[in-house]
């Protein structure tokens, strides 16, 4: 054939993850049946003891369920009834442990090579140069793990996992063992991972800020069961979650840097339904930025407040009123032109203002928490 057919440009097939596990221990049962997207970052979010790490270990094959069925795209990795179990070393996964778990007898370079050289050359899609550059560890290659800081070790651990060119990356609270400074050192690398590599990630975390910053999709686990799951923005704005999650209720808003105001040193962040002003950000106009609005930082008014110091006011429609974590408060879910908002207000105020589903209010946002 002389003529080369034009290369078909198709998006890679999305391999969804269907996971059904039942694990029983004295005093603990994990019982989940999930269908997870094979794209982006999915956070498995819950308090300690919620079963999120057990679920991740089951998916990795590091742990067997009493009942188990796991499919990755059209591959079956675990099926108790059919007697199928693909051992961990034959699953195309990458796993990042809470502690980096580097091999202490091997240099950083040899740790990185450990997984890479065990993958057949044709399946290596992540090069050493790319992984080293992505995690910024070029200067550490000759060092021994014991000489690295906790943050450096974890970056090497992530690079080591990436170098097996996984088709699914599993991360078990990779930041939990680090102090705030080290966390902030690693988070930007995780964001780059998300932006630059097309590898689906399952990310276990108990930190709402980490989830809000990194995840696209979230699964809330409580006492071994799935409480809610879905897109990050919609799920976090739900009011019917157990109290454990509503104490820290709030929404995440995806915005774009719209304009900088050099005079007042402010930056305008645009999102569907409105914008907010925040203290001047270093990011360029057009840069995507996520921020969180805690329910406790949102108050409601029937009219646009005049003579107030609060600058961030959004017109919004009440969608739902629900009980909050205390009897004195209620949670109000609002729709601000397509962007969900949650306000936590006194139940008394709610009655006095006549807040019911469908009424138009002004949401006053006291503070926004920028992520990143």
């Amino acid at each position: 054939m002389e003529v080369n057919a034009p290369m078909a440009v198709t998006a890679p097939v999305e391999r969804r993850i269907a996971a059904r596990f039942r694990v029983r221990w004295p005093g603990f049962v994990l019982d989940v049946d999930l269908d997870l997207p094979g794209r982006g970052v999915t956070a498995l979010f819950g308090h300690s003891g919620s079963g999120k790490t057990t679920l991740l270990r089951c998916i990795a094959g590091l742990q067997r369920g009493d009942e188990a069925c796991l499919r990755f795209g059209d591959e079956t990795w675990d099926d108790q009834q059919a007697g199928v179990f693909v051992p961990t070393h034959k699953r195309p996964i990458g796993y990042v442990f809470q502690e980096a778990s580097l091999f202490p007898h091997l240099s950083v370079a040899s740790n990185l090579a450990f997984g890479q050289k065990r993958v057949v050359a044709a399946e290596r899609r992540v090069s050493l140069e790319a992984a080293v550059a992505l995690l910024g560890i070029g200067h550490l290659l000759e060092r021994m793990p014991e000489t690295l800081s906790g943050g450096e070790r974890q970056r090497v651990g992530i690079a080591r996992a990436l170098l097996t060119s996984p088709r699914l990356l599993l991360m078990d609270e990779p930041l939990a063992a680090l102090d705030l400074k080290r966390k902030n050192e690693i988070l930007p690398y995780l964001e780059r991972l998300h932006d630059e590599l097309d590898i689906p990630v399952l990310y276990v975390s108990h930190s709402p800020d980490e989830v809000a910053r990194l995840a696209d999709h979230v699964v809330l686990l409580d006492q071994g069961r799935v409480v809610a799951q879905g897109g990050l923005v919609e799920t976090l704005a739900r009011l019917d979650l157990p109290t454990a999650f509503t104490e820290d209720a709030g929404v995440v808003i995806e915005s774009v840097v719209g304009e900088h105001d050099e005079h007042y040193h402010l930056t305008r962040l645009d999102f569907p339904g409105g914008n907010v002003l925040v203290a001047r950000r270093p990011e360029a106009v057009g840069h995507r930025l996520r921020f969180r609005v805690h329910a406790r930082d949102v108050s409601l008014a029937t009219a646009r407040a005049e003579g107030s110091s609060i600058t961030n006011l959004l017109p919004a429609t009440v969608v739902e009123v629900a009980p909050a974590d205390t009897l004195a408060h209620v949670l109000v879910r609002l729709d601000a032109g397509g962007t969900p908002l949650v306000a936590r207000i006194a139940r008394r105020s709610c009655d006095q203002l006549g807040v019911v589903a469908g009424c138009r209010m002004w949401a006053q946002i006291k503070t926004v928490a920028l992520l990143g």
């Binding site: 051992p87 961990t88 796993y95 580097l102």
Partner: protein, 228 residues
């Protein structure tokens, strides 16, 4: 002859002792490693039983061990019948018989340090290797063995030194045949019986110096980094 009191028979005893200890240690490393691995990893209810059996020579009088081995390996014993059927005769009063006895006698000194080293590695390293595509054998040779190296060195030193120092088992199943089963400890006993104190001193002093140096090496290594 450097030392007038050191006879050819004594040299033969030293050489035989070295040969016995080296052979026993080599066999123990091969036999002891899987036992240590099983003991370090198993959740079986038999772990206690096997662990106790392995540790028995630590507390048992060597004559008891030697007696049962003698009976088992003798013409009427199950091992003796088997070796006779194989056409190699019976093992008591031969060098191979001594090796068998020494392997049992020194087993805990090899199994326990290796088992401790395996246990110290922890599950996490094995899991990390599995997530990096290493199958269990691969993991054993590239992660477990290098990390357990200090345990293996300790085991080899202890196994060797302990075999050099055995007496009771040798006497029971080896007797005192020059150049075949007469090891240093038995030779010392002979010299003392014959009131040849000079000869006994030389061998006994040599054993003392050897044992001290071995333990010195062992204890000086403590704290050395596992993978260096």
């Amino acid at each position: 002859m450097i030392l007038p009191a050191f006879s050819n028979a004594d040299w033969a005893a030293v050489w035989l002792t070295f040969k016995l200890a080296a052979t026993t240690t080599a066999i123990l490393m091969v036999v002891g490693t899987p036992i240590a691995w099983w003991l370090a990893r198993t959740r079986s209810k038999w772990k206690g039983v096997v662990g106790a059996l392995v540790a028995l020579p630590l507390v048992l009088p060597p004559t008891v061990l030697g007696f049962y081995l003698l009976v088992a390996m003798g013409p009427q014993g199950p091992v003796g019948k088997f070796t006779t059927w194989l056409g190699v005769g019976t093992l008591p009063f031969t060098f191979p018989g001594l090796v068998v006895g020494s392997v049992f006698y020194s087993l805990p000194f090899v199994v326990q340090p290796v088992q401790n080293a395996f246990e110290a590695i922890g599950e996490r390293m094995l899991e990390a290797a599995a997530t990096l595509r290493a199958n269990p054998w691969d993991t054993f040779f590239t992660v477990v063995l290098p990390l357990a190296k200090p345990g293996f060195i300790t085991a080899a030193i202890l196994g060797f030194a302990h075999t050099v120092g055995e007496f009771g088992v040798v006497l029971m199943i080896g007797g005192n045949i020059p150049e075949k089963t007469r090891v240093v400890s038995v030779a010392i006993y002979d010299h003392v019986e014959a009131l040849e104190y000079t000869e006994a001193h030389i061998l006994a002093g040599g054993m003392l110096a050897f044992s001290f140096v071995v333990l010195l090496i062992l204890y000086s290594r403590k704290g050395a980094k596992a993978w260096k």
